[in-house]
Symmetry: D2
Subunit: 303 residues, 4 copies
């Protein structure tokens, strides 16, 4: 019944300019991740800078990636929006291009209450042409999808799972307890530092940004945890933490993670590291730190 189990990279959106895709880079990145064994793709999430892109570009990117994937793995599309109707419209485009589901965080301007979230998600799921995955992202949308709210929404036939990016494991353990046995509801974890333990304890997979760069590593972690191979989990965890503490912590802003991922992909020769406003890509000093971190991880950089 579950659509997807395993590693679902939240794909970055390769750009050449604020309103221009790096189409060749996007194609290379898709192939890189599929070659690495990932189980699905998630487009236009937080890591995909979705909110910063024009709708035109979002539509174009969905079309490009789905064409390139060509059914080899399932693809989810982020339709998070402050406007319900724009979410519905983007989902229609995603379906037409071949996506199998959509993902939506809460409306993120005027923060809704839990009751308003229930009404909103119900209306959204009713209107969508594809199955909906909830997305808990409190740091960006200001509201927490409380466990009770999720349990209520899980009974909607068109709501089929949740991705949690809160890093709050008490919350995630509560979701596993309440919903982990449901065959019609999937639970994925966002922060890649937690994929190992979450899968050990019953989660269905990870939506991990690092899988843009190192798809094999996160797939190996999923497999080890799924098999209950604790020794392997601990060993892979060290490498994941090395990435987390070196690639994602250059610079002093909240956007360090995003900049680190794009800068790495550029240094690995996969795609451009242009970032859409309000962010700017790393300048030479930070780029050099990323280069050194990649070398320490055993990577070969193109410059």
């Amino acid at each position: 019944m579950k659509q997807i189990k395993g590693i679902i990279p939240p794909m970055i959106t390769p750009l050449k300019g604020n309103d221009e895709l790096d189409r060749e880079g996007a194609i290379r990145l898709v192939e890189h991740m599929i070659a690495g064994g990932v189980h699905a793709l998630f487009l236009l999430g937080t890591t995909g800078e979705a909110q910063n892109l024009t709708y035109k570009l979002r539509y174009e990117f969905v079309e490009l990636v789905l064409k390139q994937v060509a059914g080899r793995i399932p693809v989810l599309v982020g339709v998070t929006d402050t406007s319900l109707d724009e979410s519905v419209r983007l989902a229609e485009h995603a379906k037409a291009c071949g996506a199998v589901g959509v993902v939506a965080a809460a409306p993120y301007y005027f923060a809704p209450s839990q009751q308003e979230l229930i009404e909103y998600y119900t209306a959204l799921a009713d209107a969508l042409c594809l199955p909906l995955y909830l997305y808990n992202m409190p740091s960006h949308v200001k509201v927490f999808l409380e466990a009770k709210t999720v349990a209520t929404l899980a009974d909607h036939p068109n709501i089929v799972g949740l991705k949690d990016s809160s890093a709050n494991m008490t919350y995630f353990e509560t979701l596993i307890y309440l919903l982990g046995d449901r065959e019609d509801f999937s639970l994925y974890v966002g922060p890649e530092e937690l994929t190992g333990e979450c899968v050990l304890l019953g989660a269905d997979g990870g939506v991990n940004g690092g899988a843009n760069m190192f798809p094999e590593l996160y797939v190996a972690m999923y497999n080890a945890a799924e098999a209950g191979d604790l020794k392997k989990v601990r060993e892979l965890q060290r490498r994941i933490m090395q990435i987390s503490t070196s690639i994602y912590t250059v610079g002093k802003y909240g956007s360090s993670y995003l900049k680190g991922v794009k800068c790495s992909l550029s240094l690995l020769g996969i795609c451009d590291d242009y970032l859409s406003y309000p962010y700017r890509k790393f300048r030479s000093e930070e780029r050099e730190k990323i280069r050194q971190a990649l070398v320490a991880l055993g990577c070969t950089c193109v410059e």
Copy 2:
């Protein structure tokens, strides 16, 4: 040099459905406010539910209102967006329709740092075809436009003012101190409870939601404060606080203010009270409380 001094109602967006304007209501509301003496209009702000509307509807609403206003008073259009290019595009439409300026809060998904805000607003102001007013709205966008950041941005030739909705008067007093003497930069206050004191101390006006319903009242407050008539200010303040503590506090959610304004306008016979998702309009119990509050204020309700 200053474009606008006085009361600039953040106009609500009259709706009949989630993606359908109440066109007749919008026209009545424009006439109601102009008859009340307001000095300008501000479309597509927080009170206008801008983020919850489709772009198509936003464009249509700008066109409708500007046609109705027909140059009688200046009109500002909110272009707050997470995508810089969409802001620029909406500004072009606003200019073509006759708007004299645009207003933009910070991108509101992935919170930027102060340095990123300076780069973002500089790029935005460079690209815009109309003068830009900054909009400090920390509760909704998660970041504060710090006084130093505003002072830096105020030197950009195309950034001409700021609307502050923080209700933090230490901050606003700092802005008055740093920028109050500048003839090329205007300071407006959002919360209507503060218009009196802000204008007494040097602000250029108020962007007050209550002026949708009671335009004369807020215009009278602006005039009294501008004239330094303290006795009148204190007297009008009582009435403004009566509205604030009765109309805006029905219901228990953060959206009470928005629901109260729309419900009142419906009860006053001006326009529909449909609210776009994720909000729902007041049901009969709350509506009755609003009716009683309006009666206590001396209003005649249509039902």
Copy 3:
């Protein structure tokens, strides 16, 4: 009926070491403020670093200051504590020394709900031997004393006023509206940047940290606002803002204000600038900036 109207400096606690008073400095500071015309004193507030001091030192300081004041002006003592019984005990000491009232923010470790706050303050006011002033300090205690909560508590015969340090003027205007006419309840504002406008609109005075250094200035502001002399208010406001933007903004931490006040008092030759842990006093670079700011304000420094 009101005990105090005017300027009530939240007195800093002059220290020579982490558990040692600067007794001579404290005496000089008391005389400096009384000579400057202040209407009362407030000991052991946030500016007094109360929470960082041992109880022994707090008791000693209360005794020292009240002996020095010797009834010339009324004195309030902060009894803010996480333990209700310790608050009651300190109040008994304060009364024995001659204080006329006590001030208490909410318990500040495990944040209580509004209902719990009502029960807590009722129990505290019942147990206290002196009149109680509420203290709204949300940034430090994590909870807001909501206007409804204050209105409920204002009916307690032993709760006689409130000091608001939120800087949220919509809130303060609501309190003026609900309680401003009560002869048995006083409203004071914390941030000195707001004393002018608050008194213009009906507040009873200001609890302003800058009055440690410049008592005459804040007394002059109170008098001008009380008399409705708008021109004078605007003129004095400029000087208050010059202090606010120069003395309180050196260094990059939240403790800049506290460090700026103590450093200034040291440079003015009034008392030692030792700060209790977790803070450390300004080192030479920051001290020089404060010296320059004082000179720009026309002060004579002792070094």
Copy 4:
């Protein structure tokens, strides 16, 4: 080298009144937990309502418990305080009574910066007569002990470990990565919902409130995780989550957890459920819900 590995219940403080211990209850509770196999005790933490108690009571409680334990298991004492000198003084008492270490969260009134935290904890550790465990409790003290800060402080010879109550597992994984191999530094997790996975991944134990009621359960979880018995971990996790979602979620306030633990201990016949201000114990309706939850867990209640 590590003092303690395993389950360290944060003991509640049994009370008969706001300033009166339930001495018999405290003795019964100590015996209940020792009989359940716990590896150590932690007094005067958040669960112990430490901040709400007078110092006199805190000192008395430390003496009572240490006398009762009589060296059978190691005891840690919380000395979290806003005053560094009071922390040092309580530590001296704790040592005299036989405690083996102390625990301190950051000063919790005026929030310090990371640099100030480093200076504060260094001064505290220098002054203490017992080894110090750091305590990360951001929801109550408003500041996060960042991983870099902890890594710096871990080099102090008298700082020997950390208890993390953030529930943020990305953070905890970072600490395990940076410090997990150190023989002179221990890592404990607060939320009991996370003890299983934390120990699986390298933590030294759990400081779990539920171990006041069900010491055997948490000890069994520690042992299963330590042995890498995944099947057993998952099975025990279900029971821990049943407690978490039934006992700790009665009532609507943040204090529900504390009220649930004390109410349960009272229903189990162990000690009084008086709560110190600003909290009040559960009334009959909530008490009945707790009773039902205990029955569902297979417990025998005394009423």
